[in-house]
Structure formats: structure tokens, C-alpha cells
């Protein structure tokens, strides 16, 4: 079920009403309702893969219990290894099997030993990368004794399949989310209202910004050889807003929706395009994945302790694995590598923690220097997005080369102007500007519309929210448009 669908618009109020009006007296009943609702939500897409989630739930619940009882270090390691192997085994099979096979065949062919192996037609279960990492975090935290193993299978099942964040995150840490399933839930009006506000902004980012930018980003990327350098640059910028609107929009809806049910999910985006360097960008983009890799990979590898070589090695590992997590394609690995290369100078100069506070703190506008650094960072991010969006490495390198050389040709700007004037229109740039203004205004808050909650009188607030709803209605595409991160 998609958040931006009529199905979900009917599903959510029904579950909400049952949760607070029918099952409010019993925590167990509320958890059961969450499990049932989550399975319906997921099964709407493909019920066959519910068995995978159920298996993953049972496996990690069982391993957690055994880890809780087991004191022998070797046995505990074995249990953790079992959880990691089985979870990553599923992920590897569904997501990476054909990629590895393809590359083995290519490698043997290059060595003059062509082999013939049949590829499998594998359907990637939606959200497998997300819930796999979430359940892994549980096993690892129980193993590290950061968390008591859950003895309530229903609460644990609800933690694994919690529908707002099941298919595209935020990837929750068990230490944050699981305990919330054991605490009695009291309806908090302010929290629920703010949740709705966040959902509204998320919906705006998805259906207005992402889906409208997607039309032209797709047009330019799919016909990149026909366009001038400046148009290719426009395509990269549009894709930057598409993916930001799409993914951060999903996260906002997920977090807001969770708050309606009394849950607090971790933040996933913190206005990343206002970053002044790449290090800051990574503290603000897909925070739940970055911190997952930091906690469960970077730090166990030694983190930034040790010499420069260790730091560089660990940084590259993190970025490459992060790229590969996104998909079984060399383009994602190249995307990760490029970000590692952007990050490296900051790391070596020990300047990767220069910008820990929000930009222009205490001021309305950024300084010229801040603006220059934000634009520079955004440009680097856009170049990297080309790899993320391209069909293959050849396409990405051609796109970037044509963009670089073509930017100097004046004739290309006429084509870009015509594309903006005749096809893109002024509405999409105006909507992006609206997004940036609102996000800039709310950059110190947890989400862009949070400060609107303090505006008075109420009619002003409501008029503003209604205006956003009107924009959604006026710019929503007519067809179904799934979220990009569903494929990861």
C-alpha cells in the first residue's frame, strides 16, 4: 500500500480509530492490531512475502531469547553469526544474486573462459533492506548486552513490521523503538497534531516536488545524448529534488504517522541541501542508515581511532557498503566511492566536524560564504546523483562528461531556456523555491512545518495547511507513483 494512495487514506483512519477507541485499554491488543494492520499494509503489495517477514521475526526473536540465556562467549558468537548469515543471506539472494552471477560470468568471459549459467527471475521484496537491518540491530544489541531480549512475541513482531516505517524506514534501532512497544500509550493531542503536520509536508514533498521533478528528470536522463550540457545539469538538479522530495517525504509521512499512534521514530533527514560540506551532508541525509553503519560497522572496524590509513580505509568501506546497500549495480558503488572521495579531504584535514550547528544560526539569511559553500556542496551532491540515477557506469560517465564540456557552449543555454519555458514551465521552479523557503524557515526544527504549530490565530495556521493541500491537489500526478526507495 502506498502512502500516496486512496487505499491508505481509508486504511489509516480505520486503524487509528480501532487503535484509540476500541483497543486502547490493552497494550497487547494494540500491539496485535499493529501487527495485523502492518501485515495487511504489506500484503496489499504482495502477500507472499509476508512469510519472509514472519520468518525473520521468528528467527530473531528466538535468537534473542537464546542470547539472553546463553553465557558462553563462543555460543553467543555462533548465535549472532546465525542471525547475521540468515538475514543477510535472504537479502543477498533477493537483492544481489543476479548481480554477483552476472559479474562472475563477465569475469570468466574476460579471462577467456566463458560460462553459461541461467539467471533467475527474482522479485525483490519491498523493504527487505530496511527490515533486515532493523532486525539485525536487535540481534547485535542483544548480543552486546545493550538491550534485554524481548519475551513478548507480539511486541517484537510489531517492532519488526511496524507499518509506517516497514518498507522504507527510517531504519530504527531496537534500543529506541522496541521499548516503546512495552510502554502504555497515552494519546497526546499535541503530538498527534504535529504528526499530521509532518505527514502533510511529507505528502507535499512527494507528490508535488518529487513526482513533478521526476517527469523531467526522467526525460533528460533517458535521452541524455540529445541534450546540451546545461540541460543535463538541469536534469541532475531536478533529480536531486526528486530523490530528496521522494525519500524525505516518505520519512516525514512515516514519522508523522507513527506519532499518531504514540511512537517516536528517529529523524531521517535534517535539511541536507543546506549543508556546507559533504560531512555535514552525511549527518543530515538518510541519518538512520548512516548512523546504522556508523554504529554497527564503522565503530567495530576501529572508527577514527588509529592512524590515517585506518581512518581512510574505514571511510571507504562505509561509503562503498552504503552505496552497495542501495542496489545491485556498479552505479551505486561508484556513487558511494565518489562521496568517499569528496569526504576524504575533510577527513585528512580533520575538518569533517567543522559544521555541527545549523547554518546561519541566529540569523535570517546565510552569509555569502555560507551560501557559496552550500551551493558548492549541492553541486558535488548533484554530480554524485548522476551515478545514482544513471542506467550504468558508461551512461553516468558520458552524462557527466557531456555536462562538463557542454556547460561552456552558449547555444545549449537556449535549449535549456526553451525546455524551462515551454515544457517545465515556471510552476516547478516556483514550487521548489517554496519548498526551500519553508525548509529554510524551519531548519532549526525537527521538521519544516513544526514552527507553524506556534502561529496564531488558528485560522492563519489552518489557511496555510489548506494552501498546501490545494497545492497537492493542483499538482498531484494522475497515475500511481511508488516511492523510489521501495526498490532498495
Amino acid at each position: 500500500m502506498l502512502f500516496n494512495s486512496i487505499d491508505f487514506a481509508l486504511f489509516l483512519p480505520v486503524v487509528f480509530a480501532l487503535y484509540w477507541f476500541v483497543f486502547q485499554r490493552s497494550l497487547k491488543a494494540q500491539n496485535l492490531l499493529i501487527v495485523v494492520a502492518s501485515y495487511v499494509f504489506y500484503g496489499w503489495w504482495d502477500w507472499r512475502f509476508l512469510s519472509l517477514i514472519a520468518f525473520s521475526t521468528l528467527l530473531d526473536f528466538g535468537i534473542g531469547l537464546m542470547l539472553g540465556r546463553e553465557e558462553r562467549a563462543a555460543r553467543r558468537k555462533l548465535l549472532l553469526a546465525a542471525s547475521i548469515i540468515v538475514n543477510l543471506g535472504f537479502l543477498g539472494f533477493f537483492k544481489y544474486y543476479n548481480f554477483f552471477l552476472d559479474n562472475f560470468i563477465a569475469a570468466f568471459t574476460v579471462m577467456g573462459m566463458p560460462i553459461k549459467v541461467g539467471m533467475l527471475h527474482i522479485v525483490l521484496p519491498v523493504g527487505i533492506s530496511f527490515y533486515t537491518f532493523q532486525t539485525l540491530s536487535y540481534s547485535i544489541d542483544v548480543y552486546c548486552r545493550k538491550l534485554e531480549p524481548s519475551k513478548d512475541p507480539m511486541a517484537f513482531a510489531a517492532f519488526v513490521c511496524f507499518f509506517p516505517q516497514l518498507v522504507a524506514g527510517p531504519i530504527e534501532r531496537a534500543t529506541n523503538l522496541l521499548p516503546q512497544f512495552f510502554r502504555p500509550r497515552i494519546f497526546e493531542r499535541a503530538k498527534a497534531v504535529d504528526g499530521l503536520r509532518q505527514m502533510l509536508w511529507g505528502m507535499f514533498k512527494k507528490v508535488v516536488i518529487a513526482d513533478n521533478c521526476a517527469e523531467y528528470a526522467n526525460l533528460i536522463f533517458n535521452n541524455s545524448s540529445d541534450y546540451s550540457g546545461s540541460t543535463l545539469a538541469l536534469g541532475a538538479v531536478l533529480f536531486a529534488f526528486q530523490i530528496y522530495g521522494d525519500f524525505s517525504g516518505y520519512s516525514d509521512i512515516a514519522i508523522g504517522c507513527s506519532r499518531l499512534f504514540g511512537f517516536d521514530l528517529m529523524r531521517n533527514f535534517a535539511f541536507p541541501y543546506f549543508s556546507r560540506d559533504i560531512a555535514e551532508f552525511w549527518r543530515r541525509w538518510h541519518i538512520s542508515l548512516s548512523t546504522w553503519f556508523r554504529d554497527y560497522l564503522y565503530i567495530p572496524l576501529g572508527g577514527s581511532r588509529g592512524g590515517a590509513r585506518t581512518k581512510v580505509r574505514n571511510t571507504f568501506i562505509i561509503f562503498l557498503v552504503s552505496g552497495f546497500w542501495h542496489g545491485a549495480n556498479w552505479t551505486f558503488i561508484a556513487w558511494g566511492l565518489l562521496h568517499a572521495l569528496f569526504f576524504l579531504p575533510l577527513l585528512l584535514a580533520s575538518r569533517n566536524r567543522d559544521n555541527l550547528t545549523p547554518v546561519a544560526l541566529g540569523r535570517v539569511m546565510p552569509s555569502f560564504g555560507e551560501l557559496r559553500r552550500m551551493l558548492g556542496t549541492f553541486a558535488m551532491v548533484c554530480v554524485a546523483w548522476v551515478f545514482f540515477r544513471a542506467e550504468d557506469l558508461g551512461h553516468a560517465t558520458r552524462y557527466i562528461a557531456d555536462m562538463g564540456t557542454g556547460l561552456l557552449a552558449k547555444a545549449g543555454y537556449v535549449e535549456t531556456y526553451n525546455l524551462i519555458y515551454w515544457d517545465l514551465g515556471y510552476s516547478i521552479p516556483a514550487l521548489i523555491a517554496f519548498l526551500l523557503v519553508i525548509e529554510w524557515k524551519g531548519r532549526l526544527d525537527r521538521h519544516a512545518l513544526e514552527f507553524f504549530g506556534f502561529l496564531s490565530p488558528r485560522v492563519v495556521r489552518w489557511a496555510f495547511y489548506s494552501f498546501i493541500i490545494l497545492l497537492i491537489g493542483l499538482f498531484v500526478p494522475s497515475g500511481e507513483s511508488p516511492f523510489i526507495y521501495f526498490q532498495f
Binding site: 484509540w20 477507541f21 494519546f187 493531542r189 498527534a192 497534531v193 499530521l196 513533478n212 515544457d423 517545465l424 514551465g425 515556471y426 510552476s427 516547478i428 489552518w462 489557511a463 495547511y465 489548506s466 494552501f467 493541500i469 490545494l470 491537489g473 493542483l474 499538482f475 498531484v476 494522475s478
Partner: protein, 316 residues
């Protein structure tokens, strides 16, 4: 909790009014912008005149239905000259969804002896929004219009429906003022000067024509409705330039589907027209082409009509 529910309800009412006000403002300000799910017709189309005429029409021998290829391709004067009374109810980009609505509204009033439906194949893959807006801007707003909009299921169509409904309720009915259009009163046809195909040399990607579920369902509804009233239906594919005709790779399978429902004549096979001399553009016949096409159709109708033409039609 109750306070929250009450606030949500109040907000929904407030937002609905705000939304309605926004759509009205856009409509009254004649706003039309790219990507906006709101399209305002700057001037009403000829559909306004056709639906006006059709309501004053006595029974006709032949009723023509379909897209602009109909009101530019079936010259009712030629049919009149051969003893057939006829009316042309072709409208802009009409798809089966709109055809079904027109029949639901007007069929019993017209009581035609024969319905000739031009099945513009690409119409089956058309979302129907353009025609929906044309209809909403030209005809009355009633349950048939609501059903049509609900079938099209597009925000632009919903907005147009709402605005047209308000316009109608407020008595601000559209008046057609442009008399230079060549529209022939009580005929539906558009008389125009002969132009020659300006799109010669254009190539078309070869691709399958999509058949959308809602369009096919509407088409079946049309067939069923006419069967119920014992009104013969003749499906016709009017000629198109050869490049465009050949680009429809699944054409034959769609023709097969059409033949399974009613008599069907493909005039691209029956006639050999000149892509340059007989067409106005890549979709429409010019007056010369329309005359050749109409005379052939009359000949087939006079000869006992389509059943005898089947062999010719299927190229056998």
C-alpha cells in the same frame, strides 16, 4: 481524544471550503498553467453548439460518433444528398467514456436508424481528460457527467467538474460567440477550406496501441446499449496517413476485438488515399479526402451495408 477528533473534523470542513475557493478563484481568474491540474477553456468549443442542436433534433437515419476525426471526416451534406438524414456528434478527443455518456444522455431523443462509430484506436489508450474537460465546459452537469468524471479518475477532470457545476448553478452558462468556425447548424460538421497535409515526412515510432480497462468497458457499454435498443452499430476506422497507420503494431489484434463486438470497416484497407492530397494533417482528412471517404461509405451502406463489405475490408 474527542477534542482532537472534533478539531480534525472542523479542519476538514475548513480545508474543503478553502480548496473549493481556490478552484473557483483559479477558474474565475482564467488561470491556466503547465502542470496544473486545472484547465480552463478560454472559449467554449463547438461541442457547445452540437449538444445544443442535438437536443432539438428529430430522429435521424445516421448518427456519427467519435473524435475530431468524425466532425472533420463525415460530411453530413453528402449523406443528405444521398437521402440519409444525419447528425455528427463528434467532439474533441472523444474517447469511449465520453461516447458512452453522450449516448446515455441523448440516444433516446435522437433515435437513430444507424450509429456509425469511428473507432480512433489511440482513443482506447487515451485517459479521456481532454474530452472530459471539453464536455464539462459545453454540456450540462448531471449524474452522467459525474459518472464520466469518476471513470476518468483524474484530478484535472474533478476540478473541471466542480468549477463547471458552480458555473451552472450560478447561471453563468457559456455562450458561443465565434461564428467564423464553419460549423453547419443542425449538422455537427465543420465546413472548411481544403488544406494539404503539412506533416508529410514525419515518422512515428512503431508501438502497440494501449487499451485502457475503463475505455474498453465504456466501449462494451456502448455496444450493449445499442443492442438493447436494436439500433445497428457500424464501427469504422477512418483513413489515416499510411506512416501513422503502419506504426500501430497491434492494430490487427484490436481490429479483431472490435469485429467480435460489431460490424467493422477499416477504410485504410478499403480505400487507397494519397497521404498528401487527401489529408489535412497526420490525423484528419481534408474536405477532398472526406468526400472520397463518405461516398465510399454511402456506396457500402446502399449496397446493403457492412456485411457485404467484410470481404473487402479484411483484404480477402
Amino acid at each position: 481524544m474527542k477534542g482532537f477528533a472534533r478539531s480534525v473534523l472542523l479542519f476538514v470542513m475548513f480545508a474543503s471550503m478553502f480548496y473549493a475557493g481556490g478552484i473557483l478563484t483559479l477558474g474565475l481568474a482564467r488561470v491556466s498553467a503547465l502542470h496544473l491540474n486545472f484547465k480552463f477553456l478560454d472559449s467554449p468549443s463547438l461541442t457547445l453548439l452540437r449538444v445544443g442542436d442535438v437536443q432539438n433534433l428529430d430522429a435521424v437515419d445516421v448518427l456519427f460518433l467519435g473524435s475530431s476525426r468524425v466532425f472533420m471526416g463525415f460530411d453530413t451534406r453528402i449523406f443528405n444528398a444521398h437521402g440519409y438524414s444525419a447528425f455528427n456528434l463528434g467532439t474533441v478527443a472523444q474517447t469511449p467514456v465520453q461516447t458512452a455518456m453522450l449516448l446515455d444522455r441523448y440516444l433516446d431523443g435522437i433515435a437513430p436508424g444507424l450509429v456509425v462509430y469511428e473507432v480512433y484506436l489511440e482513443g482506447f489508450g487515451n485517459d479521456g481528460v481532454e474530452s472530459a474537460i471539453d464536455m464539462l465546459g459545453s454540456d450540462r452537469i448531471d449524474m452522467h457527467a459525474w459518472q464520466m468524471v469518476n471513470t476518468v479518475r483524474n484530478p484535472t477532470a474533478y476540478h473541471a467538474f466542480f468549477f463547471a457545476w458552480i458555473e451552472e448553478r450560478s447561471g453563468r452558462l457559456l455562450q458561443f460567440t465565434d461564428d467564423s468556425s464553419g460549423y453547419l447548424p443542425m449538422s455537427g460538421y465543420i465546413d472548411r477550406e481544403v488544406k494539404f497535409n503539412g506533416t508529410m515526412g514525419r515518422t512515428y515510432p512503431h508501438r502497440d496501441v494501449e487499451v485502457l480497462g475503463q475505455q474498453w468497458q465504456a466501449f462494451l457499454h456502448i455496444v450493449e446499449k445499442l443492442k438493447e435498443r436494436n439500433i445497428p452499430l457500424l464501427l469504422v476506422q477512418a483513413p489515416v496517413p499510411s506512416e501513422r497507420y503502419d506504426a500501430m503494431t497491434n492494430r490487427d489484434s484490436i481490429h479483431g476485438l472490435l469485429r467480435s463486438q460489431a460490424d467493422f470497416l477499416d477504410f485504410n484497407r478499403i480505400l487507397t488515399l494519397d497521404d498528401s492530397l487527401h489529408f489535412e494533417d497526420d490525423s484528419h482528412l481534408n474536405q477532398t479526402g472526406a468526400e472520397v471517404f463518405n461516398l465510399k461509405l454511402i456506396e457500402l451502406l446502399a449496397a446493403g451495408h457492412p456485411r457485404e463489405a467484410r470481404q473487402q475490408n479484411s483484404g480477402q
